[in-house]
Symmetry: C2
Subunit: 384 residues, 2 copies
């Protein structure tokens, strides 16, 4: 059966912005799609062939959704894995495979996986309940500062917090979590590895997250990373090792720290298209969404080289604005060279919600960086 | 009112492949869309917000379709112009404007427009009926060979025929037509000019149509054209002149002949995204579909430069095959570097029907040309 025929149907769990950009590629190849999301206003609602409203964490919803799809994939890892496993057992093609998702979905398991496989990562402690953290601090087993991470359901910066004193733990969820050493890193890097059903592997170039000097927030994702070639090579090698050990199918975004003494530590991974790869839509020969499709459909992987340098700026809701979204000064950024906004189609903005992103491409990375700063300083996501 | 808000609605007349690729860009910016096409299986049926089945040449269908859209555009010029004119008179934003469409829709009028405005074009005769051609030949007013063109409704190679002897006229439509001198051209070139509501103008690079040496059929659209800079400059100047005189809004694709003595003659124009600009999706900083949107929405025009060289190969139905389409050897071309197929989503193939296209991009145009040839020789559009 050909993927490029009306007999084939791809199922996608999750209807957010990643699914939306994946759908763009399915339209390019006229691949039939079916999407499930809990929200009737999900960005994926149009541009798929069938849209189903359903809870991604509900066994029956996921299991029943998949009965008439030929290949099932995800755009978010928080889905019901027991349903995926049953589908796999029945012969359904589920990519990434449930086994890889089980490792990734729980951050404590993910960390243990790194240890078991000799993959460098920051030291950490695992706790079944938040209350155990307090005991550990009292007993001298854990010291400030550290990073608290919820073991499950963290997303878009939620589920992660820097803890410098006891009071910082107040209000956090009480369940399973980890406490991780705070790494004073030189750079935060990421590498996206694509691995196809047939085992073919290709990595994208190393990208760099540039942080705001004061706010400690990622401002720019820059490709290629402005780092020494030997550091880039090490990052690539470690990303490939994670990919090989985790046996994913599709994309694996590997986020890493470059420490002050140029060690590479794996922070966390995502088994799907990723924010750090959005630049690829405009900059790469094969964008990450097309590559994910190629990988899960068992097609040959595309070239991951860049045509030009690419920088990505997230469009997040401005503080102090909640309600019907307005993109202020959009026309001003459209005047700048090589600037492409992507609007995800979420109707409501709220502080720090990811509403879109803007890509800046240029032959000259320094010029791209200048324009990116103008974009960042100009556009504002507010409400009516 | 912002275009990037749910209050705004763009109407598109025609739901074919050009509309489909235009819709891709509206999805990128989350612009609300409404599309009309006569076919319930039109490629645009998904990915728009509202799809209406209707006859594009019917006054009431077009007029009623547009009542709740803010801006109305076309993806095909064969639409009911009286309805557009009435809408314009009532204050609706119709781009391209009806006046430009009236000149372009009728090829005899289009030729007279070139003459009236001093735009170089091949000599021609205009006939109200095909029977007048026979009279003219009999009286020595017209000589073989010449190109017969129907004044209206020609599309995708239909409505055009080289006439070398009287019998070649048999079976052709009997209505208004022109007979044009057959130009023994060195190259067929095209320039896409974008012109926004505010009058801002940007041209894309000159592209070249490379013909099959025997079959006299366009095989490759190549950007940039492999011609002398002074010829390219002349082509650009003439395209700009046509654009200025015709006062379109949106894109204007100007097809031209480069004669043996390096004169440029305008062949014909299309006031919309065009097959000769498909390469821009992968090769240009701003692709033609995004540029059309920018132009008709009055946004700043984007950069028309190329990141890399681009070559486009049309995927047309192979001779001898009619029925449910199959894209044979798709996986083989996906192995080649910088190759992106676009499948339009038409269910049925027939000989020479445009079913998709493939873009090949590369830093090196000669390498791109080699790969394009491999693509052309590999993929086949057949039926089950």
């Amino acid at each position: 059966m050909s993927y490029f025929s009306s007999d084939f149907k791809l199922g996608i769990l999750g209807g957010g912005q990643l699914g939306k950009m994946l759908l763009q590629e399915t339209r390019k190849w006229d691949i039939q799609t079916k999407v499930m999301d809990a929200s009737s206003e999900a960005p994926c609602k149009i541009a798929c062939n069938t849209f189903v409203i359903g809870d991604l964490l509900d066994f029956d919803a996921v299991y029943n959704f998949a009965n008439d799809v030929d290949v099932l994939t995800i755009e978010i890892e928080n889905v019901n894995l027991d349903a995926l496993e049953k589908l796999e057992d029945e012969g359904k093609k589920v990519y990434p495979p449930t086994k890889a998702l089980r490792i990734i979905q729980n951050k404590a398991k993910q960390k243990l996986f790194y240890i078991d496989n000799g993959i460098p990562t920051a030291d950490f402690h695992r706790f079944a309940y938040k209350s155990e953290i307090e005991d550990s601090i009292a007993n001298g087993g854990l010291h400030f500062p550290f990073i608290w991470k919820a073991a499950r359901f963290g997303y878009d910066g939620q589920g992660v917090k820097v803890v410098r004193k006891l009071e910082d733990l107040e209000g956090l969820p009480t369940g399973e979590c980890i406490a991780e050493d705070l790494i004073p890193f030189k750079n935060e890097l990421a590498v996206i590895v694509s691995r196809s059903v047939s085992g073919e592997i290709k990595t994208y170039p190393v990208v760099e997250m540039e942080f705001h000097p004061e706010a400690n927030q990622v401002e720019y994702v820059i490709c290629p990373a402005r780092i020494e070639p030997k550091v880039a090579q090490k990052a690539q090698e470690i990303a490939l090792k994670v990919s090989e050990k985790i046996q994913h199918v599709g994309l694996l975004a590997v986020e890493m720290f470059q420490t002050q003494d140029d060690k590479i530590l794996v922070n966390e991974v995502a088994p799907r298209p990723h924010n750090s790869g959005h630049y690829s839509i405009e900059a790469s020969y094969t964008n990450q969404f097309e590559q994910h499709l190629r990988a899960i459909l068992g097609l040959p992987l595309g070239c991951t080289d860049s045509k030009v340098a690419g920088i990505m700026v997230n469009l997040v809701g401005a503080e102090g604005y909640t309600g019907d979204v307005v993109y202020e000064h959009m026309e001003d950024i459209l005047k700048l060279e090589g600037v492409t906004p992507h609007i995800y189609g979420k109707r409501q903005t709220r502080p720090f919600r990811k509403m879109g992103h803007v890509t800046i491409v240029n032959q000259d990375i320094a010029k791209a960086r200048e324009i990116a700063q103008m974009v960042k300083e100009t556009i504002k996501v507010i409400s009516k």
